[in-house]
Amino acid sequence: MPNRRVAVTGLGAICAIGANAAEIWDSLRTGRPGIGPLTLVDTAGLRMVNAAEVHGYDPAIHFTPSQIDHLDRFAQFALIAAREAIQDSGVAWTDELRERAAIVTGSGIGGQSTQDAGFQDVYMRGRDRVHPLTIPRTMANAGASHISMEFGLKGPAFTLSTACSSSNHAIGLAMQLIRSGGAEIAIAGGSEAPLSFGMLKAWDAMRVIAPDTCRPFSRDRRGMILGEGAGMLVLEPLYAARARGAHIYAELAGAGMSADAHHITQPASAGPVRAIRAALADAGMQPEQIGYINAHGTGTIGNDATETRAIREVFGAAAEKVAVTSTKSMHGHALGAAGAIEAVATLLAMKHGILPPTANFTARDPECDLDYVPNTARPARVEAALSNSFAFGGLNAVLAFHAL
């Protein structure tokens, strides 16, 4: 088998800071957060008041009424991002390529808004039946299945769920499929739409949601802000992308995965350390080559200090030179979609030579002592970048991109 290095040739995304990659880049470049008052649900009875919603979203712009019947919001986002990524890649489909096309999507909770609505009917309104499309709308693989149907893609397709690391695991596995020859092209990413009342009550109870906004690595950070959306990448063997003259964003040079084996929610640095090291080793890179890290950076007290320690442990002296930003400060924490949206942010940063800032940053924390590019984007060409995801459950996945 030829050396199957993996190129990223297309990307698409939708989230609180934009309805497509171009809009998202404009927000990232200018450090403009999309966090604001929750409007999707009635906040009476909720502790949290703010979220990072996809603003002004109208499914009718993207789908027919019949399609909307079949698509939970999370699957709508998946399709919208996949359409954009495929269009962006400029791939010319043939029957043969369609049969060798993989789809790997991540989602932490799938179509829970649909399930939540059905349960409200049954438990609150005393109805004795739920809508018959509840199952096909709720299943976590609905996004992958609808992408497959819309584009006629017939290769390996599946969805995995590792909470906040879902997308990075999905992109990492899609990379392995391309490397191994299991697929000739892959659509990989994730989507999430967790802003339904029942889910928000559950997040309230976790007591990790900030009452104001998301201030990653800042001393007065008070927690995370929930977001929603999707991100998708098109991956191809590098030689194939070059042969067809495709625009290549970067090489997806490596992925590293690990489990903390520690605690179901409490972060620990040893697992992230091993995932970052594994990503670097897989990519054949040294820490000194990394100019930018798109951090997991949730804005919780625990994560940000732990992630800082993990980066310091792996990078040593090189930690002084790497820029670390959390774009969750702008697009919120989109859970299973987070890694994919952040991969898109990382690739756009590499393409444009501008590092998006950590927004809402007010004061340095002694426990968070890296270069977080506070509030204002920074022009910088980087040779390589990492994108971190560390999930509840202690499951970690880190992607390594290399400029070409």
Binding site: T64, S66, D69, H70, R129, H131, P132, L133, P136
Partner: protein, 88 residues
């Protein structure tokens, strides 16, 4: 001439399938109107809501035409036996 019940069945069919109501006649089959199996279970759900009835599975499986739906709903509304119409 369509009575109120028939009219309501037609409007339910139209809204489930997102088609103009004028396309529907009493002699249309669900297949003619483009209903697949998933559309059909959505239709049954909406009919049950609209008419406050419960359509048993064995009856649901035998429905093929708009006429059968109208007759079936009327029978259920009238509290008639829930047995399926004469076996084929």
């Amino acid at each position: 001439m369509a009575d109120i019940l028939e009219e309501k069945v037609f409007s339910t069919l139209a809204s489930v399938k997102h088609i103009p109501q004028e396309k529907i006649t009493i002699d249309s089959s669900l297949a003619d109107l483009g209903f697949d199996s998933l559309d059909t279970i959505s239709l049954l759900f909406e009919l049950e809501n609209a008419f406050q009835i419960s359509i048993p599975d064995e009856r649901a499986r035998s429905i093929r035409t708009v006429r059968e739906i109208v007759e079936g709903v009327r029978a259920l509304k009238n509290g008639n036996s829930l047995k399926p119409s004469s076996p084929g």
